[in-house]
């Protein structure tokens, strides 16, 4: 990807930026506009930060572990620089965690056309209909073992996008909590909402909105109650500022559910 640097002022600047890219293994966290680069197959998603282009993910389907961000919004990127070959012209982050920032940003509108230099040699799902199963679905012949019957106090963390509440990510987790609560059976549930915070690579402390921890806790409590959870509930919320150290800060955007038999 580094290619040959032509001797010109512009090229020197560009190469300097590339040379300054973080080394493999380094954690990186930034907020920037996502970029769509089309290919002959599915589009890939990129983001630029401090002169470098990072590969985030490709379009596949709802089974993907890393789901694409959204044009019209900035994206919070948290990842580890990988030594893998660049994809779609971007430095690969592995693992990577993405969160769409909620406010609209009309500047985030870059769609790059398909370019023969950039191809995807893995393609879990074409851009149209699937071949009959989700891109990352487990082998249907391998039936997963049923989860063990829970015993004792159970602590479950639910993670959220930045400043957001319950979304498409959560029905499976909520159903799982309901199942565990019924199997225990839970007599008491403690629900703690956390307002998350992030230490970005440039040193900035990025905090979620005041009140988001409370909103999340109440929302989860209301959903579990509405779905039939019959247990004494204790609801509280805290600020997660102290957890922001640039390492997996996405885990601070959460609700912790503690089920006690």
């Amino acid at each position: 990807m580094r290619g040959v640097c032509l001797i010109s002022t512009l090229a020197v600047l560009a190469c300097s930026a590339l040379d300054a890219a973080p080394p493999p293994g380094e954690r990186i966290s930034f907020v920037s506009c996502p970029i769509v680069r089309d290919t002959r197959s599915v589009p890939c998603w990129l983001a630029e930060y401090e002169g470098d282009t990072y590969y985030l993910t490709i379009q596949s389907d709802v089974s993907a572990e890393v789901q694409p961000p959204m044009l019209g919004h900035q994206v919070l990127v948290e990842g580890v620089v990988s030594d893998a070959a660049p994809i779609c012209g971007g430095i690969v982050l592995e693992p990577v965690r993405l969160s769409v920032m909620p406010e609209i940003d009309a500047n985030c509108n870059t769609m790059l056309p398909a370019d023969e230099r950039y191809t995807i040699d893995f393609n879990p799902r074409p851009p149209g209909p699937s071949a009959g199963r989700l891109a990352f679905a487990p082998d249907p012949s391998a039936r997963p073992a049923p989860p063990p019957r829970p015993q004792g106090t159970q602590t479950i963390d639910i993670y959220f996008d930045f400043d957001k509440g319950v979304s498409f990510r959560h029905p499976g987790e909520l159903s799982s909590i309901l199942r565990i609560a019924r199997e225990l059976p839970a007599r008491h549930v403690r629900i703690t909402g956390v307002r998350g915070a992030h230490r970005l690579s440039n040193g900035t402390l990025l905090k979620e909105s005041a009140g988001v921890g409370e909103r999340r806790a109440n929302e989860i409590a209301g959903l579990l109650r509405g779905a039939g959870l019959d247990a004494e509930a204790e609801i509280d919320w805290i600020d997660g500022d102290g957890e922001a150290d640039g390492v997996d800060d996405w885990k601070s955007r959460r609700v912790t559910v503690v089920l006690t038999p």
Partner: protein
């Protein structure tokens, strides 16, 4: 340059203009008794019946055999205004109601048919009855008034605190600013105007075979439950999914549309539900393609295929398909007489239209509840991504999305001017979402909409303008299209999507898509 084959069947409105006042072949006032089911008619609905429409004939399969309608609660006028369920769910119209039928009944009855009842067959109940202008939305666009409580209430009747305020910006019907019926009136209602949905193929529509859980798959919110069983339902009925089951829908419709004063009995509700679940409707014969129910034809076409197909199946894949055609109408013989060649050409057009629907990619962008469910914004996909349910083309579960049919900027009417001959017909609301919550991801915190859709039920900002996706079957019999009747023809429907998503269909692709949709 590739030549464009414009394959138009008789009365297929390729130009679109004038369709709303056109009459279908054999659908005249003189033959009204043959195709119009009036409440209380003592007739038998046979096990199979066909009705003509402008594209051919629609077939209705009644799987439990002939029904004697005398005394049947679907066919009897149960309330004070003389309507029955069948008034707005006519067999000839695919168990919906076309604007063509509405206009003919208006003329035949002198505006006295019960479908024109003041409660919702007029733009507002306070208008003078009998004046066509009082019924203009029904006569021109096939729209009934749907008054919904404001603020919204939940299934137990408790008020929901909405995430937004609602302001009436434009009120051409006068109803939303009326001292009685208005948003701030005595009744505290929001009046929106919607098409009746087909009461057929409901085994598919209500199936819980895919994606149904206590929590809505696209949002994580609580799913509605069947009050009889306590189990979650798929929330795919009605434009806004406000009723969870066919029985609760019937109860609500009896009260709201039929003006029944006492709740329907359990026996009546069971009979209505059972009848609706045994009906299958699809186009059976096409003037262009010929018979659609052939045993060796495409397996997804025709009413028999609907009656025997599998429900609860995701069809957006190359194993099940949404409308299976097995490429049986690809590369057909070019010899034969003129009629055979014309039929084969039309069938090939239908096959191409299917392929456009299923494989032609475009960028789906800024569509709420599709670009927000982990696929990214935009996604490079096809029509079948959203219209993915096997056999119906609905969404598989919890199928409300904002495709722009009611929200600005996509539902924007032409600018008004001193020279304009028409004025906007539908109300316009300004929605202001709470500054304390995340904005609508594509429309922000100030949204202009003709119909807030699901948001009038959920109270959620993200649901403004989100409408449950309709089934594709029997389209030939029930124009106009979209919940607000904004597409008068199948061509206008295709053109809307082309504008909305900047698809840039070729003329050939548009013709092929229309032909495909016309045989469903």
């Amino acid at each position: 340059m590739r030549s464009i084959k414009l394959i138009c069947v008789p009365l297929l409105a390729c130009a679109g203009a004038g369709l709303l006042s056109a009459q279908s072949p054999s659908r005249t006032a003189e033959t009204l008794k043959e195709w119009w089911w009036a409440p209380g008619d003592d007739r038998v609905l046979p096990a199979y019946v066909e009705y003509r429409n402008e594209f051919g004939r629609l077939g209705i399969v009644n799987t439990d055999g002939p029904i004697e309608t005398d005394g049947h609660p679907f066919f009897e006028p149960l309330g004070s205004n003389g309507r029955a369920c069948v008034s707005c769910h006519q067999p000839a119209d695919g168990m919906s109601l076309s604007v063509d039928s509405i206009q003919q009944i208006w003329h035949a009855s002198g505006g006295k048919d019960p479908i024109f009842a003041a409660v919702d067959g007029m733009n507002c109940p306070n208008l003078p009855p009998g004046d066509p202008e009082s019924h203009s939305l029904l006569l021109r666009r096939g729209l009934f008034r749907i008054p919904l409580p404001w603020p919204p209430v939940d299934a137990d009747g408790n008020e929901i605190t909405p995430e937004f305020t609602l302001e009436v910006v434009r009120d051409p019907t006068g109803c939303n600013t009326d001292p009685v019926y208005g948003v701030n009136g005595e009744r505290r209602e929001v009046s929106v105007y919607r098409r009746p949905r087909p009461a057929a193929n409901l085994r598919y529509v209500t199936s819980s075979g895919f994606g149904v859980s206590p929590f809505i798959g696209k949002t994580g919110a609580l799913a509605a439950v069947d009050p009889d069983t306590g189990r979650p339902v798929n929330m795919n009925m009605m434009s806004d999914a406000r009723e969870p089951t066919l029985k609760t829908q019937a109860q609500s419709a009896a009260h709201g549309h039929l003006e029944v004063t006492q709740p329907l009995t359990v026996e009546q509700l069971d009979k209505i539900r059972d009848f609706e679940m045994q009906l299958y409707a699809a186009q059976a014969f096409s003037y262009g393609a010929g018979p659609l129910d052939e045993p060796d034809g495409p397996s997804g076409l025709g009413p028999t295929a609907m009656a025997t197909g599998n429900d609860g199946v995701l069809g957006n894949n190359t194993t099940r398909f949404v409308i299976p055609m097995e490429e049986k109408w690809a590369n057909l013989p070019k010899d034969g007489d003129d009629a055979e060649r014309a039929r084969n050409e039309f069938r090939e057009s239908v096959q191409r239209g299917h392929d456009v629907f299923f494989f032609r990619t475009f960028w789906i962008k800024d569509a709420m509840h599709i670009n927000t469910v982990g696929l990214g914004n935009p996604i490079k996909r096809t029509c079948a991504t959203c219209h993915g349910m096997h056999m119906t083309g609905m969404d598989t579960a919890n199928g409300w999305m904002d495709l722009g049919t009611t929200n600005h900027p996509w539902a924007l009417e032409p600018p008004e001017s001193p020279w304009a001959e028409t004025l906007p017909e539908l109300p316009l609301f300004k929605i202001t979402c709470s500054a304390d919550l995340p904005p609508h991801p594509f429309l922000g915190r100030e949204i202009y909409t003709q119909d807030p859709g699901r948001a009038l039920i959920s109270g959620k900002c993200e649901d403004v303008g989100a409408i449950v996706i309709q089934q594709f079957r029997g389209l030939a019999a029930r124009a106009p299209y979209f919940s607000n009747g904004s597409a008068a023809t199948l061509r206008e429907l295709v053109d809307f999507y082309d504008r909305r998503f900047n698809i840039r269909f070729t003329e050939q692709e548009r013709v092929d898509l229309v032909n495909f949709l016309s045989v469903l």
